[in-house]
């Protein structure tokens, strides 16, 4: 197997059609609109960042949670999306919304191209190959010959998108709503993808590569496509981020970004698409929280934020080993079980377990290592 069993997500619920999809989307939309018209500009900027991270995390989760390949280099595709969009906007005057599909396509090709040879490596070897990508990316962006395009270490300034059509909203509200729309669309696409034929092939390859190939699934092609799609999501996120921040530089995309994305995905919950919202919130807000926590130790404690961050991370992984989504699912299931027990008491012999369409524990199917 390409992934250690410990981080295997809950397979049983993956290909299932999700009945509660429309209400969830409607609720997200309503909450988003409420936020857009009540929060301050600074907070909307943060919420937009959360949605951008969420898009990138969904892509990464398709790759890791559903296809079982680990990528430590997702920040590199985020960087390609960001720089590509910035260069298109700054040098070629491409309207910013057009950069999203362009960078989606370009990053898909880049991901597919990188995935084809790299995915012959399994597990940790693949992780190291993608890690190399993350490490070299700032160097490539810094490369002297590209300076005319990339602006070198000083980076590239981009004009932030203006509100179109004289809409009665400000720039922060507009950008937040754009990110909200993009996040919901990308989430919808991902849900369709994993509940369809491609998604089943991805999961089959993760769990039983030999059996899947016997069934006629083209392993190399599906894996590389999956890598390409993951890169596409990162590219869209990167392009949105460039428009939101209005600036790109090699230091915007350090190795740390890739590691943050991996942390966000694990915290959110492998194999859960909505869980990526929780992961994105973690990436965005916990460092700030850690900073203010460590400030309580006085001004000389400025080195502490990452220690506090580490404590948060360890606490979450101990309390919710399957991520925040896994913990919520468990909570819902145990509540249902309790309600079922209560209602089934009159009918004496009925087993409580048949109620609730999800298993109480994530179902780790044992797989033979290959």
């Amino acid at each position: 197997m390409s992934v250690p069993a410990g981080i295997k997500p809950d397979i049983a619920r993956l290909p299932r059609r999700m009945p509660g999809r429309a209400p969830a989307f409607a609720a997200a939309l309503i909450i988003g609109l409420l936020l857009a018209f009540s929060a301050s500009g600074y907070h909307l900027f943060q919420y937009a960042q959360v949605l951008i991270y969420m898009i990138a995390l969904i892509g990464l989760n398709l790759l890791t949670g559903f296809n079982g390949s680990i990528s430590l280099g997702h920040g590199a595709f985020f960087a390609i999306g960001g720089y590509g969009a910035a260069i298109l906007m700054a040098h070629l005057s491409v309207p910013w919304w057009l950069t999203l599909p362009i960078m989606a396509g370009l990053c898909f090709i880049a991901g597919f191209g990188f995935g084809m040879p790299a995915l012959r490596l399994e597990g940790l070897y693949l992780a190291l190959a993608t890690f190399a990508l993350a490490i070299t990316m700032p160097g490539i962006l810094n490369y002297k010959r590209f300076d005319a395009f990339t602006g070198g270490t000083s980076g590239l300034q981009v004009d932030k998108p203006k509100v179109p059509l004289h809409l009665p909203i400000n720039q922060d509200q507009f950008l937040f709503l754009c990110c909200l729309a993009a996040a919901l669309v990308m989430l919808f696409i991902a849900q369709n993808l994993v509940s369809g034929r491609v998604g089943r092939a991805m999961v089959a390859l993760r769990d039983h590569p030999v059996a899947a190939q016997t069934m006629g699934i083209n392993s190399a092609m599906v894996k590389a496509t999956c890598f390409g799609i993951a890169a596409l999501y990162a590219g869209v996120a990167g392009a949105l981020d460039a428009a939101l921040v209005g600036f790109v530089a090699p230091d915007s995309y350090s190795v740390f970004l890739s590691l943050s994305l991996l942390v966000g995905m694990v915290v959110g919950g492998l194999g859960s698409l909505w869980g990526m919202l929780a992961g994105a919130i973690f990436i965005e807000f916990v460092p700030n929280l850690a900073d203010s926590f460590s400030d309580m130790f006085g001004e000389s404690a400025k080195a502490l934020p990452w220690a506090v961050y580490g404590v948060f991370l360890i606490a979450i992984l101990l309390l919710a080993p399957h991520g925040i989504a896994g913990a919520l699912r468990r909570l819902v299931t145990s509540v249902r079980d309790m309600m079922a027990k209560a209602s089934s008491r009159p009918a004496t012999e009925l087993p409580a377990i048949s109620v609730g369409n999800q298993p109480a524990e994530p179902n780790h199917r044992t797989t033979q290592g290959s």
Binding site: G41, Y42, F45, Q46, K144, G152, V245, F247, D251, K302
Partner: protein, 401 residues
């Protein structure tokens, strides 16, 4: 309410101080109350540049000391210093928090070229002063394009121009070999050298070799310079490569003159290269070498040491970055003092533009800070120093770029 007399008095004071016409008095900036001035900055307390975090800590401590002495014109200074981890998007988020949530009056000494570049447009659009940024890139001293952004460090081109002038004055027949880092930083040195060595002097640069930051060593580049028969070597290198270049040129028995970029001239770096190997090096400096016991009786040093003993940890005394932060904070305090009771953003900028021969306790004797509405580089002259095997010693007069 400001009375008519106060208005006239402060206006007259300002016009005397700046020699300009009577300024229009605007309302005080956000973050300014009768008892407090709130200012903000971002610092890389975490991440790849965290060694610079001590600059922010020194500045916070400096204002704490001032506040204990009663503040500036009766107001306490509250410096909010946030961690941006050297990440430009994080810096943008932090700056928006400082401006929109915490309502700071202005931004002081945010650190790093990319972080400052990321926030420059936002601050200029909102007409918020971005004062004394902690980077040597020339883009932050451009009053025509970014009137609300002002530099502090002498920029790299100016430093290189000073080396070129020193070479012309002392070794007019030299054959110069240059080792430079292949990025903005190293290229800036080449530009600065060539701006002085023009015309028939252009041929003095006989060999240039570059390296990438990803390379493990620069040994072969030094061998190439030595092989080209140069008698002056200039290392436009960051610390690790600077130390390697110093060590290798010594090991090869190079007998000529060696210049080392100021960013690599800190004592621990030279120690890594070998103090024998570093003997005779030249650099252009503006901050005092506070590890030098010869300074013990220097009043500026005594002020600095007393501050460190009370407000910092003792190791900070010999830290060049801390000494730098002290100088920047002193400059800022001076500007706020000059503002008097008019703490509008326009007046804060105006006073920052009006530095005249200001001196700092931790800057070398003779280094003065001067600004004007067209000059946003406060430090324009540097002191050539040579390394005697233990400490940097000033040699000769200040050189203006």
């Amino acid at each position: 309410m400001i009375s008519r007399r106060e208005l006239l008095a402060s206006g007259a004071a300002a016009s005397v101080a700046t020699g300009a016409s009577l300024p229009a008095l605007a309302a005080n900036a956000p973050g300014v109350t009768a008892t407090e001035i709130r200012i903000g900055q971002t610092m890389p307390y975490s991440g790849p540049a965290s060694a610079y975090g001590i600059i922010g800590r020194t500045e916070v401590a400096y204002f704490k000391m001032l506040n204990e002495k009663g503040g500036i014109n009766g107001r306490k200074i509250k410096l909010m210093s946030l961690d941006d981890g050297y990440s430009p998007p994080k810096a943008v988020e932090d700056i928006r928090r400082l401006v929109e949530q915490e309502k700071v009056a202005f931004i002081f000494q945010s650190l790093g070229t990319p972080s400052n570049a990321a926030i420059m447009k936002y601050l200029n659009n909102a007409k918020i002063p971005q004062l004394f940024v902690a980077t040597g890139a020339a883009i932050f001293s451009d009053p025509k394009k970014f009137p609300w952004t002002m530099g502090f460090n002498p920029n790299y081109q100016a430093e290189a121009a000073i080396y070129a002038k020193h070479i012309l004055a002392n070794h007019p027949k030299a054959k110069i070999g240059v080792l430079y880092q292949n990025d903005d930083f190293g290229q800036d040195y080449l530009v600065g050298l060539k701006s002085v060595l023009t015309g028939d002097k252009a041929g003095m640069i006989t060999k240039t070799v570059s390296y990438e930051v990803s390379e493990p060593t620069v040994d072969s580049q030094i061998v190439t310079l030595q092989g080209a028969g140069v008698d002056v070597m200039l290392f436009a290198a960051t610390p690790k490569f600077g130390a390697q270049a110093v060590h290798k040129s010594f090991a090869l028995g190079f007998k000529g003159v060696r210049y080392l970029s100021n960013v690599s001239a800190a004592f621990p770096i030279l120690k890594a290269a070998g103090l024998d190997a570093a003997k005779g090096l030249l650099t252009a400096a503006y901050v005092k070498d506070t590890s030098d016991p010869a300074l013990a009786k220097d009043p500026g040093y005594m002020e600095w040491a007393a501050f460190c003993n009370k407000y910092m940890d003792k190791n900070a005394i010999v830290d060049g970055n801390a000494a730098y932060g002290y100088a920047a904070a002193q400059t800022m305090a001076h500007v706020l003092k000059q503002c008097g009771n008019d703490l509008s953003r326009a007046n804060i900028l105006k006073q920052a533009q009006s530095l005249k021969d200001f001196t700092c306790a931790t800057l070398l004797p003779g280094i003065t800070l001067n600004t004007s509405p067209t000059n946003y580089s406060p430090i324009r002259a540097l002191q050539i120093q040579d390394f005697d095997g233990a400490h940097w010693k000033s040699a000769g007069e200040l050189i203006h770029s």
